[in-house]
Amino acid sequence: MSSIAISANNLTRYFGRNHVVRQVSFEIPVGTVTGLLGLNGAGKSTLIKMLMGLLAPTRGTCSVLGVDSTTLNSATRARIGYTIEGHFAYGSMSVRESEQLQSDSFPSWNPTLFQNTIDRFGISPSSRIRTLSRGQRAGVSIALTMSSDPELLILDDPALGLDPVSRRALNETILQFMEDGQRTVLLSSHLLDDIERVTDRVLVMVDGRILVHSSVSSFLERVSIWTCDSSEEPRQLPPVPGLIHAYQAGRRLTMAVVDVDQESQAAMVRICGQSLMRSDSSFVESVVAYLSRSRSSHSFLSKNPPATSTN
């Protein structure tokens, strides 16, 4: 068996003249949970649809479980669990009926896994799906996807709108799924605290590009936050090597920098003088620094944004 569960090579997709996914390349090893992070519209769902073979790439290739995504047959698809954004379900059915419907198409159906999962979300099998809370409906959708015992699970924003109890149930379900180390999960989410707990790797997508592909811990250790009190009004900053994002609130100038070295430190001292202070960065701060790039003016940033890539 290949030890790479998902790979993308120069994957690119246009909608009309609109560049939605731009030259994305990465590999996801078997046995890992990878978080796909990005603002709405960054290209996450488009990327996932291409992986699932639901959308053809304009350029480049991608494969799942060693099979090119554009040639996936039903046998390979049955080895992949995929939930679309928004947890589609037939509202008029009961939970048990929807299990029967789903299990008919999967010979490897695992009823115990289904039961355990809906238990965790506090769902009774006889409930009508229409009457369930949003969190419980998500639970049904996850249970339906997982109980076919797939090797690869791709979840598009499964935590959207979930309450704290359902979020915990979701985290536990994902972790139990990959406990044997043979299975792989890719999930997109905006809940950064949950991503930090559940995943071991992150992909950060900004404007269609993957800017970060790293383990969670080294990502945290490589990004640092620098602050100083600036005497001047907000202005264009001279270039700082590794600068991810900078913003000014009142007189306080804050800069997030990846892989800080003497050169970038000297550049910051030139901007700030001796009031420059370093602090470590939390996972949320690091991710938000990258995501903020697309919302802010790019004027003080280098043409090629710094990418963080480790294995």
């Binding site: 046995g31 890992t32 949970v33 915990r168 985290n171 536990e172 972790l175 139990q176 990959m178 406990e179 180390g181 950064l192 605290d193 949950d194 930090e196 707990r197 559940v198 995943t199 071991d200 969670v216 811990s217 945290l220 250790e221 001796q274 602090s279 470590d280 960065s281 939390s282 996972f283 949320v284």
Partner: protein, 132 residues
């Protein structure tokens, strides 16, 4: 004794580091005795609802630094050791003092060469044999 580990997401310390630090502290304080077992990777990951690879990374570092040892099929145990803190932890602690020193040097406008030279002198003085 049952080991209680608490982790928080959103801290500046990565989760694996929080685990390393807490086990290190429990060993240093004697709360965890030599030969005592710690929860398995799977058990701790379940308990804390975190990725098992994160726990495995923390345990690997603790084994590397000699805090834990592994016995095939039996799990992880607190190892007998001399140095209480791991190498990276010792470096982290000394870096804190160095940062203070550097900040001080910058505010007092003292050149790095002077600092290095004086540090060297201190070390030489301290390393002289007793009675000299």
């Amino acid at each position: 004794m049952a080991l209680t580990i608490r982790i928080v997401a959103g801290s500046t310390a990565p989760i694996y580091r929080q685990i390393v630090d807490q086990i290190t502290r429990s060993v240093a304080s004697g709360e965890l005795a030599v030969g005592e077992s710690v929860p398995s990777v799977r058990q701790l990951a379940r308990e804390l609802v975190i990725n098992p690879n994160t726990v495995a990374k923390a345990y690997a570092e603790l084994v590397d630094s000699g805090f834990l040892e592994t016995q095939a099929g039996k799990g992880f145990f607190v190892a007998k050791r001399r140095q209480v803190y791991s190498k990276s932890e010792r470096l982290r602690r000394i870096d804190e003092s160095i940062d203070q020193l550097v900040n001080h040097a910058v505010t007092l406008d003292i050149e790095p060469e002077v600092i290095v030279q004086r540090l060297q002198q201190r070390f030489e003085k301290n390393l002289k044999p007793a009675g000299d």
